[in-house]
Subunit: 315 residues, 3 copies
């Protein structure tokens, strides 16, 4: 694997899931692989799970880890080319990426979208600039449009918990007080579309994901209908792609409740976290034994480790 930006670089995703399982079974088996190699984790936005799980994965592989948060410890980066930089941005991403590339063997990068300009966000200027100018393998730690480390952990988790060959997996939109990126649902859809699971997306009208991501998923505007017979309920809020960045008010009825979970085939409940309790999901659901959100978060380590190991073995 050269880079890990999306499902496209993952190759056969079930092979990658298999490698993640092997990492989980023997975490320190390849500790020599990363010796004298440096993983740089660059954050343009806050992070808990991604940061700790990726750091741990790299440490398990024997790497040194250097973490840099541009918000707290650095400065604002310019991403437009040809600009006269006499404003508040102290450095161009061309130099920043190249310099980080000088110090690191693999770079993990988190950079959220603006949610103001669809075209600009979907062009992934920050991620692509790092690919272009750093000269080093990039690991997407959630970009403007994707969160593939999350999706790999999600598929691993479904594989561990599924009780039928082709489970019915439902990605359901849920209410949220703020406008959120589409990166998690985009990525989840992109990955699930690479499996042979039955895949349904439930959402209010106007919240269709880009067709590039939703692909062959069955779109339903009725959450109850979607839940019927589901084996996995994957809840997530996202802002509108069509009316870019807008959030939907007054959709409290889309909360995943214990009542609604009764419609399912004793489904497992998943969410990438952080989650708003009693907004996205009722306490009774996330506190039930059917909730596997913590195991899902735990699997983030093995997803990251499989990816980093693949990159170390290739580059």
């Amino acid at each position: 694997m050269k880079h890990f930006l999306s499902v496209k670089e993952a190759g056969d995703i079930m092979s990658l899931v298999g490698l993640a399982k092997a990492c989980k079974a023997k975490p320190y088996e390849n500790k020599k692989l990363g010796e004298n190699k440096t993983m740089g984790l660059i954050f343009m936005n806050p992070s808990l799970r991604t940061r700790l799980s990726t750091q741990k994965a790299a440490l398990n592989l024997g790497m040194n880890v250097m973490i840099m948060s541009f918000t707290g410890e650095g400065w604002a980066l310019e991403t437009e080319e040809g600009v006269i930089m006499n404003g508040d941005k102290a450095e161009h991403i061309i130099e920043a990426a190249a310099v980080v590339g000088e110090y690191c063997d693999i770079i993990g990068l988190r950079s959220f979208p603006s949610l103001k300009d669809q075209k600009a966000d979907y062009a992934e200027p920050v991620l692509n600039a790092f690919v272009k100018y750093s000269g080093k393998p990039l690991v997407n730690m959630e970009s403007a449009t994707r969160h593939p480390l999350q999706s790999l952990a999600d598929v691993l988790t479904i594989e561990e918990f599924k009780t039928t060959e082709k489970p019915k997996v439902v990605l359901t939109w849920a209410n949220h007080p703020r406008a959120l990126p589409q990166s998690v649902p985009n990525s989840f859809a992109e990955w699930i579309n690479q499996t042979d699971y039955e895949f349904v997306i439930a959402q209010p009208e106007g919240f269709e994901l880009s067709k590039e991501f939703s692909g062959k998923a069955k779109i339903l505007y009725n959450q109850d209908e979607a839940f019927e017979g589901a084996d996995f309920i994957y809840a997530k809020n996202w802002s509108s792609y069509k009316h870019y960045g807008e959030r939907y008010f007054g959709k409290e009825s889309w909360m995943v409740s214990a009542e609604k979970m009764k419609l399912t085939n004793n489904a497992k409940f998943m969410h990438c976290l952080p989650v708003r309790r009693n907004v996205i999901v009722e306490d009774a659901v996330i506190d039930s034994t059917n909730s596997i959100v913590i195991q899902e978060a735990g699997n983030r380590v093995w997803a990251a480790q499989a990816v980093i190991q693949s990159i170390l073995q290739t580059n």
Copy 2:
């Protein structure tokens, strides 16, 4: 040792002091013990000594260390249960603690009190949630009501510097421009009450600590009287427990001065740091050879190392 939340988990404190001395004598003796183990240090508040000394202690034991500051790098956590999370708190501590538990073998946690609601603070909601939901051994790096790593370092320091079998130890309140937690004096009292030192607390009226902590200490409202014959002066400001969180104005006279130190038995001066010079203590005192505040701060490493080693050997 399962957790290290207060003196209660410390067992025989002089044994733990002995272990700290052994760590100080041979810091790298147990470097194999922490191999492939991860110490997570979680900060809800700023830190200098606690952060560096605990990080160093874990590194001395061969552990990996992952540090996360929720203020600078994360987001606000909800601690109340059953809440509809549609405000500014992005994640519930139930998930945050469980997730950190997935990634770490031992968790160090710092979480200060609000100083607004005595009952809420003294219930230690953040620390207890981490104990309950993380599933991992917790090390208290200063909670709402206690700072036991500091207290262990304090007892170690007194043991190193005492010149008499049963020294007279005086915890004295001192002036400060801000309202401060009771955690350091609470904890100090709790620990000193486990020794056979003579123990006196000097403070203005209205600044009595909770009886749960002050215990058998002799309370004096006259600082001069308290200082007479003292072997150790331990200065600290704290806000009122009774009039919860209030600070006392106009108490400049409680500053520890060279003049007052003359009343003592050539006492050593201690403070947990950071300290306000010429407010808590006069330059002439903290700059004298009787001041052992730096050695005390240095001992934080060995206190933390003894605690982490005990936890590694138990769990």
Copy 3:
């Protein structure tokens, strides 16, 4: 080497450059040297290159690295002595430095000038307090008046790229929207004055550096004249030393352009970064093959490693 504060401690700088080259050739050759040693990196200001390159250098030498940013994770430090600390500064640098010294074997420190009080800044109160009170070797990671790790990397870079025995090196002032410290040009001048390069400083009137730093350099107020026959153009903005901290408005003509580079002897372009594109330097220059800013930034690792190795071998 006891400390590394300026060129004064560097000894014969070409020997140090030689050591940096040896580190670059075999980065892990001395990994045993730093075993069980701790490098503390203390930041009073933001950092990208200095932080990552110094961290990497210490890791290459087998050290543990502890990083502390006082702005994001700590509190404001008092530097004046004898003050009554009842304001917003929670700790005196006397204690802070001594405590960091308890936990670290070598301390790297970054502390920028106020640019308000020339005398105070040039007395280097923060750096000198750390030297005085920490009791440990100090590495200057950019102080109020100097940035010697940068300068060592700069000389290493010139040595690598020079095509003539005694290259003509031009330090040129350039335009910038903000008032910047004099530390980089001061330090660069101080180091280049230790070589036998031909050394010219080009600047607007009123922007003379302190004579202590500019030394034997030829000062020119005409940029075109300075560029003639130059082998290296080292661009940097700085605020006035004379009219302390003032910046010069309307000096857009001092930008390093492709047109001006034609006056040189096919000169290499250097800058310490971060750099304002199309303010300090035209895109056409920094994007050309004559630009060696990334290689220069990469050399920061080997400069830091040579310094840390020298300190480890001495102390």
